[in-house]
Amino acid sequence: MDRTEALLKRRLNDDNEILYPDFEEMWGRMEQAGHAGTVSRTDAGAPAPHRHRSWRKFTIAASLSALLVAVPVYAAVQYDWGILLRYRGGVQAALAQNLGQPLGQTITKDGVTLTLHTALTDENRTVILYSLDVGADRESGMWNIQGMSLKDAKGNGDEMEYNYQQWDEKNQRYNGYFESNWTPDQETVKVSLTAKRIESYSQQEVDLNLDTDSPQQQSFPVNRDGLESFSVQPFKEGNERLMLSTAAVFSNSEAKSLAFPQIIAYRDGELVSNSQAGAFGKPGDNGEYTSLQYYKPDDVPKADTVYKLGYTKLERNIDGPWTFDLELSKKKMADATIKTALDLPLEAGDTDNRIEQMVVTPTQIRVSVRSKAKFAELPYVKYALEVDGRKLEGGAWYSTTGDRDLTTLRFERPADLEITKTTSMTLIGKYKVTRHEDDKTPLQLTNISSEKQTLIRETGGIPVQWTYYMQGADLYVETKSDDPHFGGVNQTHIGTGKDRILGKIVTVNFRGEGNNHSIDVYKDFKGTEAAIYMFFYSTNEPNKETRVQLQP
């Protein structure tokens, strides 16, 4: 088979190449129109309605963020039941008020027992607490449940569902919770909770003879457990930080989905922490699994530090399905739920983002905001809710399915907080990030060579440093500013029109994290001069705040 054939075979089958539509939604449309054969066929002749086309622009943002938060599973899990619900204070609160529904169902397979303990379901979400007893095999590694899903009798569920579990040392078992955005459409509903399989994993390490002083990409063959090779390219920024850009090539797609390859550094035998959060799982040009990790150069002196490749290996797989049939009721919770329709701007003068609804249940408070902006991205990064003078920290959840213009701000409800229709409640947004597309002036790079050269130019009134240099055949362009109000340049390009060359991004920066250093690379760059442009930049206002009174 020649190279073109091999490439075609690989790329046409590469799931990373393609953004799939929402198949559940498609199924729903066909079912509604009577084509799927599972509901009455009275209107079978009618064409199934077509989906809204406007969702496409949001899916990349959503799927990328899902990739980037796929944090390695390296950390050991040794907490008790209380800590399990540390970020689910509202669940603890409802349990304390005895609002939970006892389940007590058990399935055992191959010596492994899954037990469902308690369910909580309300207007906002459904949570099911479970435990997993792996019997004699508890020493062999870490266990997890894959593909947990809740569906009602009609097969409806929600794609925003997930499970999380921790090792319970005292009881020698795992405790976990399953959480779904699905809620019953009537007071009592028959549902089934299914787990596709239960798996155990071990953590493997491979020695890497890595030279962090060399700026070259260094490649290491691995050839085990479906992992073919691992390559690392160090970027050293003086004494500030060491960035390691890595790429793993897999021969087995199953291994790729669970291996979470990463670099582990040991200094005199002690594990060295990363100096800042890395980014994991961005697909490379040829489907590699690429990541960025950071160290402080002082933490990893060359003479005392060894580097290893760490990855997760599948040890056991107990196929399911493990299916539990349940009847859930939201009656107890419904009595203590308040729904309020709102129509308020997120801040004075904001015409793009309006607060639409607030739902207060015994476990959670949700405030939904509808955005007209292009990327449905709220202007503030941090959110809190002030209830009777008490501050609850919350987070923004961008919808990946269904209504993509709607962002939900979620706040867990503490046990001892009473809320009625007259309780004073204020939404607070903090740390404003604004995107600007106004800087279209090119910057002239001259005498491009292996020597690092720095130019300073003002963008939006802020001095920005541009550093450029050749490394091998590639041109690197770095941008940053000492002014913390500068949020960073998103991407650069050289030239315009049909001759435009796009910079390939080396760094991954998150919105509002305060890091404005970006690196782009132009592979196989020819020439000594270039006119360079940016697509857009952002500005940060860490102390800017908006306050919106929601009630009374």
């Binding site: 073109t4 498609m26 990349i60 998103n490 049909k498």
Partner: protein, 185 residues
């Protein structure tokens, strides 16, 4: 297996085939739905080589769609870049492009549709020349010559595009570098 299982098992493959055949996410989604409605209406439980039959329905649905769509004007527009290199796209078009990283579908769309169909069945689904001949109702010799021609054209497209196209694959990340949502807990 019922209709839902059939849909769950084959939806991704059908969609992917449609996407690479028509290079338009919205059209591919409509076609994917159309294919399944056709399947559900048929006696698919009685078919022996189910996957081959599903792909036959899929590819033919796409070919029909492309035949309908390709008025003379659209044909000219679609092939302009083959003669001139990429024209500067209008702003809306540019925004659209930034949202997709699906370059390989772009390369495939530059091939004549009949050749595209052969390459998709051969390299996405691994069907034999004989099977493809049966599915598309064309002689074996024609399958072979279309495959050969397709590979030659694809090689040329890959050589022509070079660095700039490879860099373009990164563009969606550029769009999202500073917008990636870090607030998921």
């Amino acid at each position: 297996m019922g209709n839902r299982e059939l849909f769950q098992t084959y939806s991704k493959e059908v969609y992917r085939t449609c996407y690479y055949m028509v290079h338009d996410a919205a059209d591919a989604e409509d076609l994917c739905q159309e294919v399944f409605i056709t399947l559900f209406r048929s006696q698919w439980q009685n078919i022996d080589h189910l996957k081959a039959w599903i792909m036959k329905v899929t590819v033919n649905t796409c070919l029909n769609h492309l035949k309908r769509r390709n008025s003379l004007q659209q044909k000219l527009m679609a092939n302009l870049h083959l003669f001139k290199g990429s024209p500067e796209p209008p702003v809306e078009k540019l925004a659209e492009q930034k949202e997709t990283k699906l370059e390989w579908a772009g390369y495939m769309s530059r091939l004549p549709v009949k050749i595209r169909a052969v390459l998709t069945l051969r390299y996405m689904h691994d069907f034999s020349m004989d099977e493809i001949s049966g599915m598309l109702a064309i002689p074996l010799g024609t399958v072979k010559s279309r495959q050969h021609k397709g590979l030659r054209l694809m090689k040329k497209i890959l050589e022509e595009t070079g660095v700039q196209i490879i860099a373009k694959e990164e563009e969606p990340y550029g769009q999202n570098r500073s917008t990636a949502k870090a607030s998921l807990k």
